[in-house]
Amino acid sequence: MIGALNEGISIILAGDTLLWLALGIMIGIVLGAIPGVGTSLGMAILLPLTAPLEGQDAIILLAAIYLGGNYGGSVAAILINAPGTAAAAATTLDGYPMSRKGEASRALAISAVASTLGGFIGIGFLILISPIVTRIVLQFRSQDYFLVALVGILMITLIARGPLIKGVAVGGLGLLLTTVGTSPLGLEQRYTFGTVYLFDGLNFVAILIGLFAVSEMYKLMTESGGISKGEFELGNEIVPGIRDALSRPKTIVKSSLIGIGVGAIPGAGASISTFIAYGEAVRSSGEEFGGGNPTGVAAVEACNNSTVGGSMIPTFSFGIPGGAATAVLLGGMLMHGLVPGPQLFDADLHVTYSIFFALFLGNFLILAVGLLAITRVGIVTQIDTKYIIPVVLVVALSGSYMLRTNWVDVATVLFMGIFGYYLRENDWSVIALVLGAVLGGLMESNLNRALQLSDGSFDIFVSRPLSIALTLMCFLILFGGPIKRKISETVGG
């Protein structure tokens, strides 16, 4: 392992690899910040241009875009409630309220520091466990993937707003939306109204952009002035922001580890991990969240950057991309003749280490760019919203068309914008909708697989130690709160 690490580091430091790393991070931050475009599209555009590069430089460039993008996604999430990437959806929960209070720069500083620390911890941990990572991956079965998704959906009980029963209804709708299109189990076309443009279902990013960015624009139409309703001080907010992040080491370490662990689940890793990290922060701190709590921003941002490391695990070990960005990364590996497989964590560990180490270094750049440049963008929240609204709508709607060149996605954004507005105005949790929509596919296909394997018996969920642990975790989330309250009441009373 040490030998491989050495070799990996020397690969990075030789040649112009660092240059590609820096370029990738910068491109990623910019692309990630544009809602709808997202990092995967940018990576795909650049992919053919990487042909003349050395294989490792190309992979590092692409991975750096992905990392930079996961940080950049938080910028628009904080400033205008428009998560640039799915991984930044949870950043809106406390980040945007901070902007509304006039603390945009502070939130951006927290995001920069927490992202960097999360990246360090996550990728550092990944480097440590790399030699045994394949063995860990092979412990996970279909039922375990299902149970992790269930943990994710149970987060509704922790982070949804308003009456619980409304959150449950909206979560049900989110799950239902994922069933649109050709079924993953057979060939039945479900709720497609016979149009081929719905055969692949609804696009999750389009749902996200509609629910957050577009519905927020409709809402802003009903008021005047800038997004920020508080006193906005540019220069004085950065240091408190850094302090906010540094004073929450427990949250950041926990969130980073969640990012690695949950991020490694193929299918929806990046989007669930952030919600689980956020839910865990809510659960453990006992503070008030959703109104601009710095812990909320730190938890999500630390998590989504370490998720980048986590999502490399299935991509590298078995060639299973967790999402659109890792799919393009896989394309890059393919193009440059780097065959994904367990040997990347074994005989070819030095290759993997060079990529991880590059990402590790990339975090420094995120910190520098984040603190020195991005925090200044907070000024956007001072601009009168009547100038912001048309630009955001143009980016969101035209960007959604670029997701798949499918008008269904544009219609989704528009509809979700209107629908999301009414849901929010009436205390129906849009977060529950997002959770349902991100997890439905993962839940359905893995539940079905598990039941096929067990011949329909639910015993499979308690058949192995890992499954039992995850099942217990689900029960704890559901009943942990009331039980704890009961205990403390008994003890206290």
Binding site: V196, L334, P342, R404
Partner: protein, 359 residues
């Protein structure tokens, strides 16, 4: 989300003619016969109800191409098809001094991109990459009605790569042949990415009596391979490239290829037709996936010829060869005649021999 990821192939494969493989099964069993009007010579039909963009006229000039070319990729950017398409497009620009843009029109198993090609009315200025027999399978399985796939008959240009389908096993499983697998099928959990594999499973049941106790469908060949490695399933079947990494590390072991042509990547992997496997009847028209190109249905003979010779030059160029050596992507060239024959085989073979309702 569908993630399309195709095989990585390290060894060069000789050009071969593959019609023979499936011919015994399909025969020349006449036209489709049932409800369709058996539009055999597809070039005539226009079938583009949408937009009415005046096809079939105005290309009186004798120089093709008369406008910029377009490469339609019906899968997402960064996938296997996309990688090939971008490489082919860039070499084509050099060898023919033309402008060609690559467009991704993903969705519905490639049917949205195919519809784009069929309906564009660009007189042969577009090409589409799709797979054989997958294109026909997706069309029939999904019951597509936005275009008529028979319009594409005769519009196939070339086959540029081939991937056989392979079955792998968990290293702890003490089964070594297809015959043994069939004998012990009552205890076998079998993982596949669905799609074409469902058809393979159906034909294997009809021809060889192979019916594993449990069939589990994964989101792709790689996840199926991982499931075999973890022991969640005993064996997995997919395009062979999906298994390359995990076979290399010993986490799974090749059992056999369904295609009688054998493996492109792995040495010494038997085929189901081999004697020691039990000498089963192969059905290569389904168990071997060819990457192929089509142009617009209304393309003139001149355009078709232009494309065929241009693609031949591309695939046999030094640049393409270097790229193949460097990346391990397999390349080959089979022209119009062979590819159109395979296409017809696929269309008719699927309709005749597969019970699509039963998949």
């Amino acid at each position: 989300m569908h993630v399309y990821y195709f095989a990585v192939v390290t060894m060069q494969r000789r050009t071969f003619v593959k019609v023979a493989g499936g011919a015994s099964m399909i025969g020349l069993a006449g036209c489709t016969g049932d409800d369709d009007d058996g539009n055999e010579n597809g070039n005539g039909g226009n079938g583009n109800g949408n937009g009415g963009n005046g096809n079939g006229n105005g290309n009186g000039g004798d120089s093709f191409p008369s406008e910029d070319l377009r490469f339609v990729v019906p899968y997402s950017a960064g996938g296997g098809s996309d990688t090939y398409a971008r490489q082919i497009a860039s070499v084509l620009q050099e060898v023919r001094d033309v402008t060609i843009t690559v467009e991704n029109h993903e969705g519905s198993g490639g049917m949205i991109g195919t519809n784009e090609l069929v309906g564009a009315g660009r007189n042969g200025h577009d090409i589409l990459t799709h797979n054989l027999p997958t294109i026909a399978l997706e069309y029939l399985q999904q019951d597509i009605d936005i275009f008529d796939i028979d319009d594409l008959r005769g519009a196939a240009i070339a086959t540029y790569a081939t991937t056989p389908r392979m079955t792998v096993k968990n290293p702890d499983l003490d089964i070594d042949t297809y015959e043994e697998l069939i004998e012990r099928q009552d205890e076998i959990a079998y993982g596949t990415p669905g799609g074409t594999e469902l058809g393979i499973l159906q034909i294997a049941r009809e021809l060889h009596g192979f019916e594993p106790a449990t069939h589990v469908q994964y989101d792709g060949g790689n996840p199926a391979g991982q499931a075999a490695a973890s022991g969640e399933v005993d064996v997995a079947s997919a395009p062979e490239g999906s298994f390359q990494g995990a076979v290399g590390s010993g986490d799974i072991e090749p059992l056999f290829t369904w295609s009688s042509q054998g493996s492109n990547i792995f040495d010494g992997v038997p085929t189901i037709a081999d004697e020691e496997q039990g000498g089963f009847e192969p059905f290569d028209w389904l168990s071997e996936t060819g990457r192929a190109l089509w142009t617009n249905p209304e393309a003139s003979e001149e355009a078709l010829e232009w494309w065929e010779s241009a693609i031949e030059d591309v695939m046999t160029s030094d640049q393409m060869q270097e790229w193949s050596d460097e990346t391990g992507q397999n390349i080959q060239f089979d022209g119009r005649e062979t590819t159109n024959a395979s296409f017809v085989d696929a269309l008719e073979g699927l309709e005749e021999d597969l019970d699509l309702e039963d998949l």
